[in-house]
Symmetry: C2
Subunit: 119 residues, 2 copies
């Protein structure tokens, strides 16, 4: 059973693990852009950027339109909300030391249950 693309959250984290893809998202935060426009600042080939865009699209982080021969990409940040929710469960572990930790434990365990689809 392959690990890849096992679930939405994993796909999102995996997509964000590449700095080029994060830079692409930052670019798209300024507005729609075509593949060529997106690729311009990078040293890698256009095809490599096209692959990155496909990864981002499958993670739901971008969506693409059709305008003549251009396929403008735009940011769809909804999956980042899931990331935010996930990481928020651990907030008590870094910003208030270990205060109220016990109170958060059940939340984390409960919340992570949809997560134990491993094995």
């Amino acid at each position: 059973m392959p690990t890849t693309q096992q679930d939405q959250l994993s796909a999102t984290f995996a997509a964000l693990a590449d700095p080029t893809r994060r830079a692409i998202l930052a670019r798209l935060a300024t507005g729609e852009a075509t593949v060529n426009e997106i690729a311009e600042p990078f040293e890698v080939s256009l095809q490599a950027v096209s692959k990155h865009l496909k990864v981002l699209e499958r993670a739901g982080l971008i969506s693409r339109g059709r305008s003549a021969q251009w396929r403008p990409c735009r940011l769809t940040a909804e999956p980042l909300e899931d990331v935010s929710d996930w990481v928020s469960r651990y907030r008590a572990f870094w910003d208030s030391g270990f205060d109220r930790l016990d109170r958060r434990l059940r939340e984390i365990q409960k919340g992570q249950n949809g997560e134990h689809d491993d094995h």
Copy 2:
């Protein structure tokens, strides 16, 4: 030039991209645990879990003590704060539609500059 482990944030995202590792973090949120204790719920081998722990350790998400032949692991969630900070820059894109977007653009572009170590 390899992409892997290029920077701290990438390493953290990559570590979080595996559901087994996220489950390990959830387990450690309940307190310290030894490798055997951590491995118990999973179907994979102990060695596989040991590798996962190494990944988490290199990402700074866990630290390990030494007590006799046990190496208890505990959660060190600080890198998650960086994740939280990163994802927060995009909050306006999902929770308030596109309101005040222009105002956030410069923040995102500025914040992402330490990020453009690609290429």
